[in-house]
Amino acid sequence: MSPAQAEHGPPPMVQATGVSKWFGDLVAVSDVSFSIGAGVTALLGPNGAGKSTLLRMMCGLARPSNGSLTVLGKDPRSDVAVLGRIGMAPQQEPLLDYLSGRDFVELAAKLHQIDHPVEAARRAIQAVELDPDDTRRLSTYSKGMRQRIKLAQAVVHDPVVIALDEPLTGLDPRQRREMIALFHRLGAEGKCVIVSSHVLDEVERFGSRVLVIAQGRLAAEGDFREIRNLMDDRPLRISIRTDQPRALAITLLDRGVISGCRLESEDALVVDTSDPTAFRRAVAPAARERDASLLEMRPLDDDLESVFRYLVGQ
């Protein structure tokens, strides 16, 4: 390790600098910069946010329209050799259906020119909890099995950087737990595991560093707890059903926990708050003070899209 590295820590395994990617008029990724090291990193964002495009660029499948993206210091697009140290499970479902699962993983091992490809394929298939002696064609595999065999071909050559695009789709809860444990094992071994997902709770279970991608931009990055807090603290519009909407609205306005309100009906109120935490603390005492019954409280913009929109605005 050079003195500079000793001072600043190990160099990042994946480094993106001002990366943009556009397809005609459509901007899929816009000026994204980040660096990723060993361990599990989640790429979180809604469908169409640009996660898959970023992963594809990391694996050399697509070229950035602007900026640079290196993996282990090399351009994966032009340096074929670095692909030997990258493993990827793409999002798309189709596989080489005329092969058996074993042949499919063995093919990957052989193309990576690793020693003992047959044994390596067996190990990889066992690691994803499939039967290495299963000779059925991939066309007969269920969705969960297809997801797992994709993971097996991604790790069969013991890559350093592993990019997994929505790898938990189609798995049952037990399989998800096993796969997440596998990601953690790989991360603990010093590998750089990048997992994309559009499911907030799923990413929470990775318990990892998170890059939030929304509308092609890097909306936030950091430890999952920081991101979660950021998401929890964003302005909210909340629908409240109560028998005394007017009185409750006045009290909440007086306490300064809402910035606006609208009476929807004789028992419904919609309020805007820029401090959801303070609002949550204040609403029950306010109702008690007015002797109002709280029948229902429901956030109107709690879907993931609105969370990401907010983060992009930040």
């Binding site: 050399g60 050799a81 990258i86 793409p90 798309q92 080489l96 093919l107 193309l111 071909q153």
Partner: protein
């Protein structure tokens, strides 16, 4: 050439439907051989038959169905990623796919057409048919391999190319004919038996060199395209 990719491509090309189509076309070729043998001017009829059916129809259509599918199908069903992601030089992938197409199309077309030529009983036609169809297979395989990677509906584009360029435009004049692949293998047949055929007036040297050059150009384009294309 990568042997693993070669095997995958060969395996992907063989399907029951295709086997049935190849068997049907092979039957027609052998039948033509018997018809030519029974014809009054069997040399002329046999040469015309081997040229018209073998190099104008059989070779290009079989090469089209397999060549365009070799990499084209992998692009279309988005499975090329499982080959492309590996540290294999792109020219090696292209060469493996090309070899796979040749090794399936070659035996079907060359063996069947040579057998058909043997059935005609015209001795001069035997080696000429083998050479002409082999060269046609080489040229069309390279051409359609590249086409499969370049166009989304490559089978339709290829059919359009065969029908419009090879079969129609090539008749418009000598310069058009020079740009038609089929005129070169047909010239080999014409040279061998002395039977004059339309378009079959290329020099012997050109008849051998041009189809090889076309096949290699298709292979080179495929290699280049694999390095440039973005994989979905």
């Amino acid at each position: 050439m990568n042997p693993h990719i070669y095997r995958v491509v060969v395996r992907s090309q063989i399907s029951p439907g295709r086997l049935l189509a190849w068997a049907g076309l092979s039957g027609v070729a052998i039948l033509l051989g018997f018809v030519a043998r029974a014809a009054d001017d069997s040399v002329s009829f046999a040469t015309q038959s081997m040229g018209t059916f073998g190099t104008n129809i059989f070779a290009p259509f079989i090469a089209l169905t397999l060549g365009s599918a070799a990499l084209g199908d992998l692009v279309e069903d988005r499975t090329l990623v499982y080959i492309w992601l590996r540290p294999v030089p792109r020219y090696s992938m292209a060469t493996a796919a090309f070899a796979a197409v040749i090794s399936v199309v070659g035996p079907i077309v060359v063996v069947v057409m040579t057998a058909a030529a043997a059935v005609t009983g015209v001795d001069d036609l035997l080696m000429a048919t083998a050479a002409a169809t082999a060269l046609a297979v080489f040229a069309y395989s390279g051409l359609f391999l590249a086409l499969g990677l370049r166009f989304k509906r490559s089978l339709l584009v290829g059919l359009g190319y065969i029908a419009i360029w090879e079969l129609l435009m090539s008749r418009l004049g000598d310069w058009f004919a020079r740009l038609s692949v089929r005129s070169y293998p047909m010239s080999i047949l014409s040279d061998a038996t002395g039977v004059e055929m339309r378009l079959a007036d290329r020099s012997t040297l050109a008849s051998y060199i041009v189809p090889v050059a076309v096949g290699l150009a298709g292979l080179a384009y495929t290699s280049w395209r694999l390095t440039r294309t973005e994989i979905d």
